[in-house]
Each structure stands twice: as structure tokens, then as C-alpha cells.
Amino acid sequence: MTDQPGGRDPATTGTDDDGTEPDARYTFANERTFLAWSRTALALVVGGLAITQLLPPFPGIPWGRHIIGTPLILLGSAVSVISYLEWKASRRALRHGLPLPRSRLPQILAIAVAVIGLIAAAFALLSAARVP
């Protein structure tokens, strides 16, 4: 997920603390960004679960709710993991005075939500057409 040198290494390598300590405000800002993405991830999981469990089924579309809800739950998982990796990459960049790596999360989230939204709209129209 990152082009930073060694950015993909797990936390076990012990090289995370090299470089110099950045301004504490940058460290806090990086942490807040991670927390904001984590809340986004939780919201996606909750949304997916609500769709599969609480939404009435789409008439005539078997597994319709699961086709919409399951990708949302998986997306929440992915956002959570990627945001942690990006927090790590940003932290490394800050410690070495490098430019911050670009985040891929906005693009991932935008595309995924757009696709799922289109599918949901199609299901809504299809099921409406089946109900007289």
C-alpha cells in the first residue's frame, strides 16, 4: 500500500523508531486521521450488517440484501487495515522528513460506495417493477 522504503514491514522488525522524532502535533494529527478512518470503517460494517439483517428483502431478487451488504462489511474491514498501514507509512515519512505518501483510501472508498450505490439503485428499481 505504500511506496515508502520498507513501509510494508510488520511491526516486528524493530526499525520503526529510527529517524528523528517529529513535532508532536504531526504525530497527533496522523493518529486522528487513523481514528477518523476507523470510524468510517465501523460505519461501513454497521451499514452492511443493518442491510442484511434489518432491511426487508427485495421482492424477486434472491440474496439481494447480501449482495449489497456483504461488500460493505468487507470494505469496512479493508478500510480499517489500510488506514493502519497508511498511519504506519505516514509515521515513517514524518520521522525521516520525507513527503507524506498519498492516501489511497479516498479513491477506494469513493469507487466502492459508488458501485454499491448503483447496485442498490438497480435492485430498488427492479423490485419496484415487480410489485404492481
Binding site: 511491526a11 520503526d16 523508531d17 522524532e21 508532536a24 502535533r25 504525530t27 497527533f28 494529527a29 493518529e31 486522528r32 487513523f34 481514528l35 477518523a36 476507523s38 470510524r39 470503517a41 465501523l42 460505519a43 460494517v45 454497521v46 452492511g48 450488517l49 443493518a50 442484511t52 439483517q53 434489518l54 426487508p56 428483502p57 434472491p62 440474496w63 440484501r65 447480501h66 451488504g69 456483504t70 462489511i73 468487507l74 469496512g76 474491514s77 480499517s80 487495515v81 488506514s83 493502519y84 498511519w87 504506519k88 509515521r91
Partner: protein, 114 residues
Amino acid sequence: MSPPAGRIPAGDEPPDDIEYADPGLARARTELAWTRTAIAFAALGAAVLKFHPVVGLPVLVLSAVVWRLGRLPGRAGAGHARGRRLLLITVTTVAISLAALVLSFTGPGISPLR
């Protein structure tokens, strides 16, 4: 005499960034972000609790843990300690989403085949 652009203002000039005067604001904002995250966990836990107490209760307990983590003192630079806190959030979210996947296919919702 004015400081060069991008430098910390000299002592006789008012800082243009309030956080030069009080860097604690960043810490306070971060604590609030932890609080929001804990509330998100609590909301999720309460919602799940209604249908699946066995899954919802641990999530509610976790929200208290998250709230507490945000308030633990800890140097901003204490890298590994803070990193482990964040990793806990990620691991928890992945675990919750796995539970959500299982629930969504086995839960007591209306028959998934329709």
C-alpha cells in the same frame, strides 16, 4: 525583524498558529477523536446487543477500553505503545466485521433466501 517564512516566530511576535502558544490543543483534539471512536464502538455494540447479546456485550466492553486508551498518558513519540493501541482498533474492527459476516448469513433476520 520578522522571522523567515515557515519558521517559528521569535518570542516578541504573536504566533500566527495558536498551537505555538498551546501545543496541548493537538492532544486535546486527539483525545476527542478517541472519544468519538469509543462512541462509535458503543453505538455498534448497543445495536448488536439487541439482536446478539453474546456479540454485542464484548463490543460494549471494548468501547470502554477504547475510551480509556484515548486518555492514557503517553508521550506522542512513544511510538510502539501508541502503535499497539491503534493496532488494537484495527484488529477489533476486522474481528467485528468477520462476526458481522457470519451474522449476516446465519442471523435471525428474515430468511436470506428471499
